[in-house]
Amino acid sequence: LAKTTQPISMDSYEGQEVNITCSHNNIATNDYITWYQQFPSQGPRFIIQGYKTKVTNEVASLFIPADRKSSTLSLPRVSLSDTAVYYCLVGDGTDSNYQLIWGAGTKLIIKP
């Protein structure tokens, strides 16, 4: 079964670029890698999703190497409002034994 590993916490400052890496050693070959953001007392919210190489949207970029054993969420020019917990999500297995594997989350604290 695939396993995900993320740093427990990270600190940064407003205006900086923040990169959070998730290691996932054995994910389903046809599955996407997805990142979610969670604020206190709220449900997780989708940030970005990718399959390989690089994906960019209005809030983040996602870098996935060719072996797909890790992914890096990049948040450009963070602000205080980016303080949250960030989760990676991958899939493992096929058909009847397909499982969703959530990372334990990275608590990101942005300082002024």
């Binding site: 599955d31 996407y32 997805t34 979610y36 007392s41 709220q42 449900g43 997780p44 919210r45 989708f46 999703q49 989760y87 999500l89 899939g91 397909y98 499982q99 969703l100 959530w102 990372g103 334990a104 989350g105």
Partner: protein, 112 residues
């Protein structure tokens, strides 16, 4: 368009009591999930459904039952609540297996 709603928002139970949590979605999504999140921890999948009338076990199904009689509703039942089930419960809806999950606001359950 409310997305995903959960009822109730808060509940306190005594050990041995039963209750049902309701998740409703108005997005016509096929997949629905129930997760629990303990303090400072990531999400753990309890049960899920890939369509009306279907349910399947997740990572931590013991002590819970679910039903998906209507496509828009996914019910989570606790037959005999235990203090170990004190947690925040999140429901999510997803159009298909590789799509974004949309989460509800959560139900905070305390079992005394």
């Amino acid at each position: 368009n409310a997305g995903v709603t959960q009822t109730p928002k808060f509940r306190v139970l005594k050990t041995g009591q039963s209750m049902t949590l309701l998740c409703a979605q108005d997005m016509n999504h096929e997949y629905m999930y129930w997760y629990r999140q303990d303090p400072g921890m990531g999400l753990r999948l309890i049960h899920y459904s890939v369509g009306e009338g279907t349910t399947a076990k997740g990572e931590v199904p013991d002590g819970y039952n679910v039903s998906r009689l209507k496509k828009q509703n996914f019910l989570l039942g606790l037959e005999s609540a235990a203090p170990s089930q004190t947690s925040v419960y999140f429901c999510a809806a997803q159009r298909g297996g590789l799509d974004t999950q949309y989460f509800g606001p959560g139900t905070r359950l305390t079992v005394l």
